[in-house]
């Protein structure tokens, strides 16, 4: 079981949280201009890296707030947990970090 540190409540068991998939996927800036391919990419396509992954979690049985977690999908190590208004943290000494396709900033 994962031990995840909610930015507001501190470390809690995985069972207190709800998983929300990839983080930093901004809503399209001009939705009316999108092609079908661009809509498909926004709705159905997410990164699936083997290694560090920025993802969203919600503290369901605690403060009920969403936040982001940087987690290694191979070792399951939780590398960082941060608020939605904070940027994705740099991981010094980890050259293998998979950067998201879109620059962070949407933070939704």
């Amino acid at each position: 079981m994962l031990l995840i540190s909610c930015p507001w409540c501190g470390p809690r068991d995985e069972t207190e949280y709800h998983y929300g998939g990839q983080a930093h996927v901004p809503y399209p800036g001009n939705p009316a201009d999108l092609t079908d391919e661009e809509w498909a990419a926004y709705v159905f396509y997410r990164d699936n890296p083997k290694g560090p992954f920025a993802e969203r979690w919600m503290h369901g049985t605690g403060c009920r707030r969403w936040f982001n977690v940087l987690r290694d999908t191979v070792s399951y190590e939780v590398l960082a947990a941060y608020r939605l208004d904070e940027p994705r943290p740099e991981l010094p000494g980890r050259a293998d970090v998979h950067q998201p396709a879109e620059p962070a900033g949407g933070n939704r």
Binding site: D36, E55, T73
Partner: protein, 406 residues
């Protein structure tokens, strides 16, 4: 102290060739799907200059880790067609391959615990019958006749309100299925190459012309990916993005018991499914872990919850001991249906996204994927399962019939 080394395991069933420098077709991944594809490329299309490349050992991925349930009671026409084609092939494969892989048509019960489950189940039985799939709706007393050890008392937390029953469903011995397919493919000239990881692709413009592997470059006329949990990391190296997410899925077995469980029981609502293996172990599974992962292990609370559900449904299991738990990595699509077809890269084909339920499809996945690779065009059975459906919106939403949360 020096121990006498054990003798080498003989390769009874297939050769262990060195990879050649080029093949007509290279299949990546020697799981059930890769092996079935090679078998049908040779049998149905006469294409035998084929290599199946496997980074580990033959059928050591999800093929070795699944709970072996075979059924075809999916909701939509497209799914009923492909899974029922698979079931028809399962019924004749032991004879065709001359290998007893213990295909046992002991039936499957999909339990209903809420009014909505009941309605979904009754609807699915109707849909199945219209598609020629054997299906019945059973009331709780009839469920108890099929599976006497199941607790159908109205006094449990989630009482059994009925079940769908597919009598032709069942289980098979997964390792033997793989070995049976491997032996025949090998006999027809297919090279099965283990310990050979595909690390990249050779391209000529927008066309794939071969693969880079841990044992050197191999040229290929066509390349088919059948890499299950690793399909997206692999496809990305060819410049193709796939709408799949990889999740850990666990299973466990108990110690051996006398035969007590005559069928397969699955429950979507309380999240457990159970059958009894030929040797006597109770084989149990549940849903995927919510998060993405490649670690081939999962969360303990998933096991805890599935055991609680199993003991409530089967009080007779309360004293059974868990012998072993393990995890596999499954690739899940947004509509819980597979992707089999062409990709934007010429001569590169993909079979993936079977999620938690691809073992039952093994022969049909191989049949249709072989057709697609051989002809460059989808077979009518896999045409609806193309990558394009995520752009056109023609999804095949089988989350309800997938019977495992994902």
């Amino acid at each position: 102290m020096t121990a006498t080394p054990l003798p080498e395991h003989p390769d009874f069933l297939w050769r262990t060739p060195e990879p050649r420098s080029s093949y007509d077709v290279v299949i990546v991944g020697a799981g059930g799907h890769g092996l079935a594809t090679a078998y049908y490329l040779a049998r149905n299309h006469g294409i035998t200059n084929v290599a199946v490349l496997e980074k580990g050992w033959l059928a050591g991925g999800n093929m070795a880790r699944n709970t072996t349930i075979i059924r075809s009671n999916y909701l939509w026409d497209e799914s009923a067609a492909i899974y029922e084609h698979a079931l028809g092939l399962w019924e004749r494969l032991p004879e065709e391959l001359d290998y007893d892989f213990l295909f046992s048509q002991r039936g499957v019960l999909n339990l209903a615990h809420t009014l909505q489950d009941v309605r979904e189940g009754v609807r699915r039985v109707g849909a199945n019958r219209l598609n020629g799939v054997d299906a019945q709706w059973l009331e709780p007393d009839e469920v108890a006749k099929v599976c006497p050890i199941l607790n159908v008392s109205p006094r449990t937390r989630y009482p059994v309100l009925g079940a769908t029953f597919q009598p032709r469903a069942g289980i098979a011995k997964h390792d033997h299925v793989a070995w049976a397919l491997a032996r025949r493919a090998d006999e027809m000239g297919v090279d099965l190459i283990q310990g050979c990881e595909v690390t990249g692709f050779l391209k000529d413009g927008d066309r794939v012309v071969g693969v880079e592997t841990s044992r050197g470059r191999i040229l290929a006329g066509r390349v088919g990916l059948a890499a299950a949990g690793h399909s997206s990391v692999l496809a990305e190296r060819a410049g193709v993005r796939l709408p799949v997410q990889s999740h850990p899925l666990q299973a466990l077995v108990s110690e051996l018991h006398e035969p007590v469980h005559p069928t397969v029981v699955m429950s979507n609502h309380v999240h457990v499914y159970v059958s009894q293996a030929h040797k006597g172990e109770l084989v149990m599974g549940a849903g995927v872990d919510a998060y993405n992962g490649y670690g081939q292990r999962g969360s303990f609370h998933v096991i805890e919850r599935q055991m609680a559900a199993a003991v409530e449904l089967f009080p007779v299991f309360a004293r059974a001991h868990v012998l072993r738990t393990w995890g596999g990595i499954v690739d899940v699509t947004p509509d819980a249906s597979p992707i089999i077809g062409t990709t934007p890269v010429e001569n590169l084909y993909v079979n993936c996204g079977w999620g938690t339920g691809g073992f039952k499809a093994t022969p049909a996945a191989g049949w249709t994927f072989a057709h697609t690779i051989a002809t460059g065009e989808p077979h009518p059975l896999n045409a609806p399962f193309a990558l394009e459906r995520f752009t056109t919106g023609a999804l095949i939403d089988e989350h309800g019939a997938a019977a495992v949360a994902h």
